[in-house]
């Protein structure tokens, strides 16, 4: 296969598919760190011109990460649905971009196509799409999942309430949960990152969250984001596990860096299904991903970080997850340098996840050594909500006091609901209404401190733990 392009009087030659994909990627610091990025803007466009003419089925014949070496590649290749792929098998990558944007490619067509797509095809086409293309196609994808709430319905935006605490103080966590509930946040999951990752600590947090959920009869799922092997042990001990969490990446070696493989994920998935704790559905897994994860584990196989990220979605979709999110700005400026790169990556990840059939959400976030601030987050959350993002992560005041980074605030969700008209999951919305928290015009009330509803909740919070 000859991969070359003459542009502006210069010939650009790409030695293989991996290099072509990396060169076609929008500029980002992680690919530059890995030595994979296009050397010039012109080379980047030349790579896109070559990629546009490449037949989409090229990716079925040529693995970027060798089949023999990598169980994620085997999962992708062995699980490919060629019947579903038939609808677009005749297209080039560029033709696929045009087809995705066509009116013919509606929600049903995209849902049927999803099992026929590989991560590499999806990553490739995303490199030919502008931000607005990523938004408009993702918005057409319909992915519905359910446990105690139903996520992904049209006109809805879910939220994860993330009540982290530097020492896992149970009362401190409970207080943050209540703060979020008062803003109507938490329908996707009430999920805490433990400061100390061990089994007894996770059980203490789980029991407290489950106690709160039952006390207020909240239709929501809880999760302690402990390692999947801990979750298996915790389920053996019969502690209340709703969703099983794990960070995953796009290669076997990178997953090994996380201490997991497909077998242990399968074991955890089956154990969680057996608990039958969901009321309106049985999607029991929660995965997090993020561009740069494979490179930081030195397990990227010379593949660009956006393609490696998309391969992580192949891992996720094997387990019919309730929710998946990219932690887009969390991994640091050596992978995504500034607000522009973070925003682009957030839209790519959401698009690629949705096209592969995942209930894709996002932790709209940044660290203090990145060139980004809350203005950039305002942009990304507005764009993602427009794109039909399944859920966003929120912490009190946008400041995660345990992980030391900035995400979205509960207030941000109120802004998105009123500005873009998106609602919480129907089961959760009905609960908010029962609790008297919804005003006649649909807004979340700002309750007076002396209001019995708020004073009752605060009193209960003091009793917990």
């Amino acid at each position: 296969m000859i991969l070359r392009c003459d542009l502006g009087g210069q010939r650009y030659v790409f030695s293989d598919l991996k290099r072509l994909m990396a060169a076609a990627s929008p500029r980002r610091s992680g690919d530059e760190l890995a030595g994979l990025a296009a050397a010039t803007d012109a080379e980047r466009v030349a790579a896109r011109i070559v990629l546009a003419d490449l037949p989409l089925d090229t990716f079925l014949g040529e693995a970027l990460v060798p089949y023999e070496d990598d169980e994620v590649t085997r999962l992708i290749v062995d699980g490919h649905d060629s019947e579903a792929f038939a609808a677009v098998s005749h297209l080039t990558v560029g033709g696929f971009r045009d087809w995705l944007l066509s009116h013919e490619a509606d929600s049903d067509a995209l849902s049927k196509l999803a099992p026929g797509l590989t991560p590499e095809m999806v990553a490739a086409v995303s490199k030919l799409m502008r931000n607005q293309d990523l938004i408009s196609v993702a918005r057409k994808c319909k992915v519905i999942t359910a446990f105690r709430t139903t996520l992904g319905l049209p006109g809805r935006l879910g939220t994860r309430l993330q009540p982290n605490h530097p020492t896992d103080d149970l009362r401190g966590v409970a207080v943050s949960v209540l703060d979020g509930l008062l803003y109507g946040v938490g329908d996707a999951v009430i999920g805490i990152n433990p400061a100390t990752d061990n089994v007894p600590n996770a059980i203490a947090l789980m029991e407290m969250l489950d106690g709160l959920r039952q006390q207020y009869d909240i239709p929501a799922q809880t999760c302690v984001l402990t390692h999947v092997t801990n979750a298996i042990e915790i389920m053996n001990r019969r502690a209340p596990v709703d969703l099983v969490f794990q960070s995953v990446a796009g290669s076997e070696a990178a997953n090994r860096g996380f201490g997991v493989d497909l077998a242990v994920l399968t074991e955890a998935h089956e154990a969680a299904l057996a608990l039958k704790r969901g009321t309106v559905g049985q999607n029991v897994m929660y995965f997090e991903t993020g561009q740069g994860a494979a490179l930081s584990a030195d397990a990227h196989h010379g593949v660009d970080q956006q393609t490696m990220e998309t391969r992580a979605y192949a891992v996720a979709r094997a387990y019919q997850p309730m929710i998946v999110n990219t932690v887009v700005g969390f991994i640091g400026p050596e992978y995504l340098y500034d607000g522009k790169q973070i925003i682009r990556a957030g839209l790519e990840d959401h698009f690629c996840g949705k096209l592969l059939g995942l209930p894709m959400g996002c932790d709209v976030c940044y660290t203090n050594h990145a060139e980004a601030d809350q203005d950039d987050m305002d942009g990304l959350m507005t764009l993602l909500t427009t794109a039909g993002c399944t859920f966003l992560i929120c912490v009190p005041g946008a400041d995660d006091v345990m992980l030391n980074y900035q995400s979205l605030s509960f207030h941000d969700v109120l802004y998105l609901r009123s500005t873009l008209g998106v609602k919480a999951a129907p089961e959760f919305e009905a609960w908010l209404d029962r609790m008297g928290m919804v005003a006649p015009d649909g807004r979340i009330r700002e309750l007076e401190l002396k209001d019995p509803r708020i004073s009752h909740m605060l009193a209960q919070a003091s009793l917990v733990a």
Binding site: S29, E32, L33, P163, N164, H165, P166, T167, D169, R171, G172, V173, V175, S176, D179, A195, P333, E334, Y337, T367, N368, H369, D373, Q374, V395, P396, G397, A398, D399, V401, M402, L403, N404, Y405, Q406, S409, H411, L414, Y415, R417, S418, R443, E446, L449, K450, I454, S455, L458, A461, S462
Partner: protein
């Protein structure tokens, strides 16, 4: 006391249990301006901790009477440093003849590295070095090396050049909004290029906002130095014992 019933903020009692930004109130749907400005001030402090250059003269003065040397990593400036962690891990081309001229065969060399918070280093590095040196009577200690645009692994290059048995890298940790001046220490036995993180021991969260005190951190580090010298190693095999010595504090993420 007061006969007039005063409206109390029910959040104030709850704030004792968390430093999260709870109960902020609302301006319509948005955060009240006071909370917005407090957040911006904290973010500005954290960013300044990352971007303000380390005042090497001041650190040197605070380290007296200990002698010092200065080195730079291969990262020429902060933007490059942030994008290219690999360059921050290697000595630059012009580290000066100082390192090679330094006395060979020290037991310990302290490297004071700016890392991701020059503020942390400015505040805590010199007092911590003094506290350690006091506790290390009988050890041969090399001149303190001040390293700019440095990551933890730069200590491997420095330690190898100086020929020290152990390198202790004192480095500014990634700043958070609540603590922007947290110092970490990484100890490595027989430092040389290519050492893995699993071959180091780390003490993090040394700061004055509920973190480890200088005395506790120095006790912990000196214990590690003695054990590392005895066992001729650092890393995971030392890890389990040290955790019992002093409780780990919550706070900033370690910089690696």
């Amino acid at each position: 006391m007061d006969d007039v019933a005063r409206p109390t903020d029910p959040w104030s009692a709850l704030r004792a249990s968390t430093n999260a930004r709870i109960g902020l109130g609302r301006s319509g749907d948005a955060m009240p301006l006071k909370a917005v400005l407090e957040f911006q001030a904290a973010h500005a402090t954290a960013r300044d901790a990352v971007h303000t250059p380390l005042d090497l003269d001041a650190v040197e003065a605070a380290l007296q009477p200990l002698s010092t040397l200065r080195v730079k990593s291969s990262a020429p400036d902060r933007p490059t440093y942030l994008r290219r962690p690999d360059l921050g891990r290697r000595l630059g081309d012009e580290p000066g003849p100082d390192l090679d001229a330094a006395d060979k065969g020290a037991d310990v060399v302290f490297v004071v590295a700016d890392g991701l918070s020059a503020t942390a280093v400015q505040m805590h590095a010199a007092p911590l070095v003094h506290a350690c040196v006091e506790r290390l009577k009988g050890f041969k200690i090399a001149p303190v090396v001040l390293a700019s645009q440095a990551r933890v692994a730069l200590g491997d290059d420095v330690g190898e050049r100086v020929g020290a048995t152990l390198v202790a890298v004192l480095i500014g940790e990634r700043p958070g909004l609540s603590v922007a001046e947290s110092l970490g220490v990484y100890l490595t036995y027989e430092p040389r290029r290519g050492r893995r993180d699993s071959e180091r021991n780390c003490i993090s969260n040394i700061h004055g906002k509920g973190g480890l005190s200088y005395a506790l951190a120095a006790d912990k580090l000196v214990w590690l130095i003695r054990e590392a010298t005895r066992l001729k190693l650092t890393g995971v095999k030392l890890k389990d014992d040290v955790d019992a010595l002093a409780p780990a504090a919550g706070g900033a993420l370690p910089e690696t």
